[in-house]
Amino acid sequence: MKRYAFSLLLLLSLLATVLIIYQLEFDLNSSPLPFILLPILLLMTWMSGRINFLILVTYTLGLGFVYLVLSWYNAATNEQQLFYIAQHLLSSFGVFLYWLFLRQLRSIFENNKELQERVKLLEGFSESPQLLSYSEFLDRTDFLIAGAKRREEKNILFHIQIPATKFNKKSIMQQLTNAGLKVFRAHFDVMSQRNRQEFIIFLQNTDSTGANIAWSRYEKELRNRFTTVDFPFEFSQLHVNSSVEETLDQQERVHK
């Protein structure tokens, strides 16, 4: 909120400066300001923060030299020189405020973009907040696989793939997720969406018999949700030895 107020204050100061300069310009037709200031402001709107700072410094120094040459050439009186200085200060201050405003605006945009990316990363592409994001799923399963290896236990991965041709992929995925959350122990078995077409469930410390029991419970729940005789997805049960990614890659190679 503070940053918002500061940006607003900057914008108001900028407008006030522009108005004062405009007022001054009416009295002095020979001033080169309008021809220099406008292109500078336009240029700054499109440039990066670093280039803008360079423009600000070059403009402030350059304009000073322009006035110096002008007053030397015109043999300016003390009053005229003071007027040039006032003009220089005002216009430089205006460019400075615009630079500050753009910097403030850019930092808010960048911050916003960064936050959006973080939220996206945290949520993954999952629309169900109880589900793990895929990166979290991989981290968690790596840890579980390492533990299972030490204890010489087995792990099973349920891989469910919705064919690309299905129109209602989003709704199918929603039903798979909700059914999974209902049937499996969320703190013990982990689930995730690999992408918009693949749903995966990792069952730790279980063999094929245990996995079949789990699948029949899941299937029963799915039967309640789907009316079709054939499910609108393909199901495979995979043994996980080293990592989930490797297991899925192997599966893909077999299918090809």
Binding site: R50, F53, L54, V57, T58, T60, L61, G64, F65, Y67, L68, S71, W72, A75, A76, T77, N78, Q81, L82, Y84, I85, H88
Partner: protein, 408 residues
């Protein structure tokens, strides 16, 4: 009268254009992407720390030296120039425990000062490179690595120069202004000159040098009080370059009282007057890249202060009603441009260093009227002391800056 004024104003033009050019070049250099080159073999480095009565700061300095991380062989030599306080006992605590640390008692000799101590340090070490840190310095752990990498990857480099930051910048107005002055020197002047002329200058501390080059030119000039500036001229005259490395940082303390400051800066001024005199006698100092240093020297220590004095006189006369209406040069605008260039340099340095807080910006805006004016006094003090020493045929001796305890 107008002819004299026009001549003075031409010099003004030259200075204003030169410093404006350096400001823009400095910003460009700071914004340009620097390549970091990892070396296969890291050369041997000897860190030389000249010390005299440093008991108040030496423990923190040696702790920082131990924290330095360098992939090659690195040894730290504390060169004790006959300290009367507990410098040696603190140093021995470190040398008896850590293999990297070495304590060396420098024999008595003339003329006293940093240059002679460093020459002695060079004579007892044999590393490929040596690096100077003042006895109050606390470098960042990667400083040596950054300097060595840059020195190795820059064409014709005989070393590299790091950045010096002020550890007690917030203590009072004086230390704050000194910190700002250092920022301007390093971020605008140094980097601007590197961008524009591919030449850098040594800063007295946090500087890496190739031993063979320095030994070939006969080491340090023991009579030079501004030994860094003097050495810069000689190595630049041989065609070597000194790249500036912004990532290689060290922290040091600056004078906290006006008395200590004036003493330190008068010594610097004397050193620079000595160098100006030496420059007049040495033709090599006016060729190639060395010309940039010689002109910079004249501009900073002579013309700038001289013009500052003129500007003050014009201002005072103006206040008493002498408006210079008949002058054919726009005096007021010249004065304004001087203030503008000086202040823009400060604000640019603050923006580059991300230290542009409201209080720092305010200090930057008033520095022309306060801190810069001290240089007029310093020039007079320096000239007076120099002439006095010449008339009495005395050798101006090194005068150590008094340290203070700074908690970090």
């Amino acid at each position: 009268m107008n002819i004299i004024l026009n001549v003075i104003m031409s010099i003004f033009w030259l200075l204003l254009l030169y410093y404006s050019y350096l400001t823009v070049a400095g910003i460009l250099d700071r914004y340009s992407k620097k390549k970091t080159v990892k070396l296969v073999h890291y050369p041997t480095v000897a860190v030389l720390i000249p010390a005299y009565n440093e008991g108040i700061v030496i423990r923190q300095t040696l702790e920082a030296m131990l924290a330095i991380e360098y992939p090659g062989d690195l040894d730290v030599f504390l060169l004790d120039d006959q300290s009367q306080d507990d410098t040696s006992s603190i140093a021995l605590e470190f040398t008896t425990m850590f293999s990297r640390m070495h304590y060396v008692k420098v024999p008595k000799g003339e003329p006293i000062g940093k240059s002679r101590v460093l020459n002695y340090g060079l004579s007892i070490t044999d590393s490929e490179y040596f690096l100077i840190f003042d006895a109050d310095n606390q470098p960042k752990p990667d400083t040596v690595t950054r300097l060595v990498e840059q020195a190795h990857s820059t064409k014709n480099a005989c070393g590299a120069v790091g950045v010096v930051k002020t550890i007690n910048a917030t203590t009072n107005m004086l230390t704050r202004m000194i910190a700002i002055e250092f920022q301007v020197f390093q971020l605008i002047m140094q980097s601007g000159r590197w961008k524009a002329f591919k030449t850098g200058s040594l800063a007295g501390t946090n500087m890496l040098l190739r031993r063979d080059v320095i030994e070939n030119i006969g080491g340090y000039d023991p009579y030079a009080l501004a030994e860094d500036a003097e050495l810069t001229m000689r190595i630049t005259a041989l065609g070597y370059t000194l790249p500036v490395v912004y990532e290689a940082e060290t922290w040091e303390q600056e004078p906290e009282t006006m008395k200590v400051y004036m003493k330190q800066r008068t010594r610097w001024m004397l050193g620079n007057i000595y160098l100006l005199e030496k420059s007049i006698r040495t033709w090599e100092f006016w060729k190639g890249r060395t010309l940039v240093h010689s002109l910079q020297h004249i501009m900073t220590y002579l013309l700038f202060i001289f013009l500052l004095l003129i500007s003050d006189i014009v201002l005072v006369l103006g206040l008493f009603g002498y408006a210079f209406d008949q002058a054919t040069t726009p005096l007021i605008l010249f004065w304004f441009m001087t203030y503008l260039v000086y202040t823009i340099q400060i604000l640019a340095a603050q923006e580059l260093e991300k230290t542009a807080t409201p209080s720092n910006v305010f200090v930057g805006l008033i520095m022309y009227f306060t801190y810069a004016q001290l240089f007029v006094i310093l020039l007079f003090r320096g000239i007076f002391a120099y002439i006095k020493s010449k008339m009495r045929k005395e050798v101006i001796v090194w005068d150590k800056t008094k340290r203070v305890k700074v908690e970090t």
